[in-house]
Symmetry: C2
């Protein structure tokens, strides 16, 4: 009745749970392409369900094109035919990265309005009670595939210093700096959340899938809140990366992040 992707994801129940789990493991690399999954009987035991249920979960994976089944042999993880789009962003230098990324990706505005800020946002930006904020929800696509769901909150008085059109052409921070706002620092937090019905739909995934959640709060030089960003990423299409170097003398050896392009080269 409610088919999500094109796949035959089980509606609810254990089969669905196991489907999500296995899918997650496969896309996360736990089961490498070409390698065989544990046998159906084994899986049934591991997850404490009957073989029939495992079977239903596997059926869905086959429907997704993630695995291939060979009678008598086993179930094997398929080599993804379409290259994993896998965008990567360096966590240490996230901002400029995102900037460059903006060129290679498309954004779609899902919603735009001035609203009363959620408690979290009001607290983080230190918004006075009753004051409103501009909320914009954007979807970012690469290669016509959605990989990130962004919700930004900007205090009303700041938001009014630019138009929607401005935003389309120029990054927010440039706009603000031109207007004399002196950006001070930003604070980022990374977490993991489950896809809700709306975010799942936007990101073309399934309710209950694991998403990377990044929260960023930007302050001006006086410590006043400028922007609150809540970003959700599909882990199979986007990943946060960072390279560290071991530096210093034998007394004070420690790690130091590698910036920008160097990080890309050092990796792998």
């Amino acid at each position: 009745m409610n088919v999500q992707n094109g796949s035959a994801a089980p509606e609810g129940g254990k089969a669905r749970r196991i489907y999500l789990l296995l899918r997650d493991e496969i896309m996360g690399g736990t089961h490498a392409p070409g390698s065989a999954l544990p046998g159906e009987l084994r899986l049934a035991e591991t997850h404490g369900v009957s073989r029939v249920t495992i079977r239903r979960a596997l059926d869905a994976l086959v429907g997704d094109g993630l695995v291939e089944r060979r009678a008598g042999s086993g179930t094997v993880v398929r080599r993804p035919s379409t290259q994993p789009v896998q965008l990567r962003a360096d966590f240490a230098t996230l901002m400029p990265q995102l900037q460059r990324m903006a060129d290679a990706t498309t954004a779609r505005l899902l919603s735009f309005a001035y609203v009363n800020p959620p408690a979290m946002v009001a607290e983080a930006l230190n918004i006075a009670a009753g004051e409103r904020v501009q909320r914009a929800v954007r979807l970012r696509l690469a290669d016509d595939k959605a990989f990130s769901h962004l919700t930004t909150f900007v205090p009303e008085n700041i938001a009014q210093s630019y138009s929607e059109a401005d935003l389309a052409s120029t990054p927010l921070f440039r706009l603000l700096e031109r207007r004399g706002v002196r950006i001070g620092n930003a604070h980022q937090t990374v977490s993991a959340v489950l896809a809700t019905p709306d975010t799942a739909e936007a990101l073309e995934t399934t309710v209950g899938a694991a998403l990377i959640a990044l929260t960023r709060v930007v302050y001006d030089s006086d410590g006043a809140g400028i922007e609150y960003l809540s970003a959700l990423y599909r882990p199979d299409r986007f990943q946060l990366e960072m390279t560290l170097n071991r530096v210093g003398g034998s007394d004070d050896r420690h790690w130091e992040p590698v910036f920008g392009e160097a990080a890309q080269r050092t990796a792998k």
Copy 2:
């Protein structure tokens, strides 16, 4: 039959899915403590299920002590009685942080063995076919509460330069550097995954919950793989943080990570 936490999490099916979702939202701050959840009827519509099903999910949340229901008034998010333990680690300087953290936390060894490396690991560490690796699975607890599930892979020849006892007292990198291994750089990736039966049990959470996944590969100065770490964190008990400063002249303004203690002070 299979109660996970002490809560009454629905076995499978939609009620469970919605329970997980709402729980995730509450713990993630979408619904601030003290604020009311959407009405049951509204929730039923949003999630496309009947009110009874929503009700079952809410029952579980009440069982967890996450929400309080008042007849006629609504369902309200409870202020957590036990302060959120919330360990925080700075992503940029993760290593020293972890070092310091080790003092305040306990580790429990769940398994220890020499095994054939999974494909992912073999590739990342550039292990020759047939060569084995030391695999150790550890659980890290703070305040008697598990917050992280660590699996490390170290090539056999390197692992043999220290004993299990050594590891208990001294961090791996110190041990290796004393043995003449010259540590070069490390590469980290952050993602999000779902809790599987085993990781869920270890982390005292529920199958299908969202977890932060951090993968780290450490190389020596010759580029040879030294350690492959796969860490899972409970997002309600651990978070990756980072503070950035806006620096540079008007021509070349960009962001730069703030290290160590400074980051802690700047935040909030």
